[in-house]
């Protein structure tokens, strides 16, 4: 029963017209009623989780080769990610002293070169001059004297490839020749 009527006519109306809320004809089932709120809660939890994971990994900034070499002593045996372009002709398969296979190569940025011994999986896109992000730490050792000529190498066990934004073609004829030679197919 409405109690808001103030004038005489309205009181008369409210007195005879039942204005009390009715039960909906088709009541929404419990699941349908609560599902959107649950989805909202789930989304908020997911956003929180994503941000937490992202911040937890935020320390994994890619250090460029020149920066990593310059801070080599400061970094000590901290684990970090380093980005650089593999030097053409430097890539070679080797075996560690325990017999495990590895890939040795050099990476360069701004003419600063670092030697790398990588023991993890190698990307399909691991190619000379295509930047790689390698996850590992500096090691000072004479184990690979012929590779780490200055006594330092970057021991990595995870490799990601950061392709650049260049999709132009060059040397079309040489590419066609390479294709014919079966360098890629």
């Amino acid at each position: 029963m409405s109690e808001v009527a103030t004038d005489e006519g309205a009181e008369e109306i409210s007195g005879s017209l039942d204005l009390s809320p009715r039960a909906p004809r088709v009541a929404r089932s419990g699941w349908r009623r609560w599902a959107p709120a649950l989805v909202v809660a789930l989304v908020m939890v997911m956003i929180g989780f994503v941000l937490w994971r992202a911040l937890a990994d935020a320390t994994l900034v890619f250090r460029e080769v020149d920066d990593a070499v310059e801070r080599r002593l400061e970094l000590g045996d901290d684990r970090f990610r380093m980005i650089g372009s593999p030097v053409s002709g430097s890539i070679q398969e080797i075996h560690l002293t325990d017999g495990r296979p590895a890939v040795a190569f050099a990476v360069v940025i701004d003419d600063v070169v670092a030697d790398v011994v990588h023991t993890g999986g190698v990307s399909d896109q691991f190619q000379p001059e295509v930047p790689v992000v390698i996850d590992g730490r500096w090691v000072q050792s004479n184990e690979f004297g012929n590779i780490a000529q200055d006594g330092w190498y970057f021991a990595s066990d995870r490799m990601l490839v950061k392709h650049d934004n260049d999709y132009r073609v060059n040397n079309t004829e040489r590419i066609n020749e390479a294709e014919e030679r079966g360098q890629y197919q």
Partner: protein
Amino acid sequence: MSLTTVLSRQNATQDTQSISSSATKALGWAALVGFAILVVLAFAWVPADTRITDQGDVVGQFDAVRLMFVHVPSAILAYTGFGITFLASLGYLRWRTDWWDIMAASAAEIGVIFGVLTLVTGSIWGRPTWQTWWEWGDVRLVTTLVMVLVFIGYLAVRRIPANAAVKARRSVVIALVGAANIVIVNRSVDWWENRTLHQQSTLLARKIRDETLFTLTFAFVVGATLFGWLLLHRFRVGYLERQITEQEVQKAIAERQAESAAHDTGSLTQASNPTGQIQPQSKTSP
């Protein structure tokens, strides 16, 4: 009612007797044919991504680059959907009409579809090129995921039972917050270049070969056509849902009035509604 209004309504009614007008049918067919052409261009015309270094090494993404033609347009369409949601939300704040609210919701839903596709196709493209499906520390990936989650939340909030105006106001707030993230997502590759595997813009740098550029542009056109078709139809769904809600409200009012007329003969009904017409309600709750 003026003659022009009558004629325009008659034409409009004829146009919507089926679920699609001739214009939207044409749009749909254009999108389908365009997509078929896009498949041919992407797989038969565009060469694989290959470059040769000064030392003679053949490098590139090879055929994986053909994923560009679904991934990049998906991202652009997601931005478009969320951008339209943002603008329509501003429109709602200014004009407070259902048209803007329905437009905002429709665009957000389509934006979420393409946003999820951006993440999925990006992940599929990332595996062969980056050697990873997902990186939690990558700002581009994480901000994109957050953007999509915010708009999934936006759609869920709209489904929480509430008065239509309350729902619309809640939605506007989320849309405005979500829209701010669009800028962060788009600029993240430049702002945090050493925190993402994602490349910077190719188009702005103009580092793309002609066939690839043409096909990518064509993919944008096909995507825009498809987006337009989806938005028109999804908007109509929203509009019809409001119409049904309105019908139910009017039916309930009529039933109440019939009940009151049955209880009290004549004078009371005359006092409450002298013209015998159904009066517009100030607020309706779908």
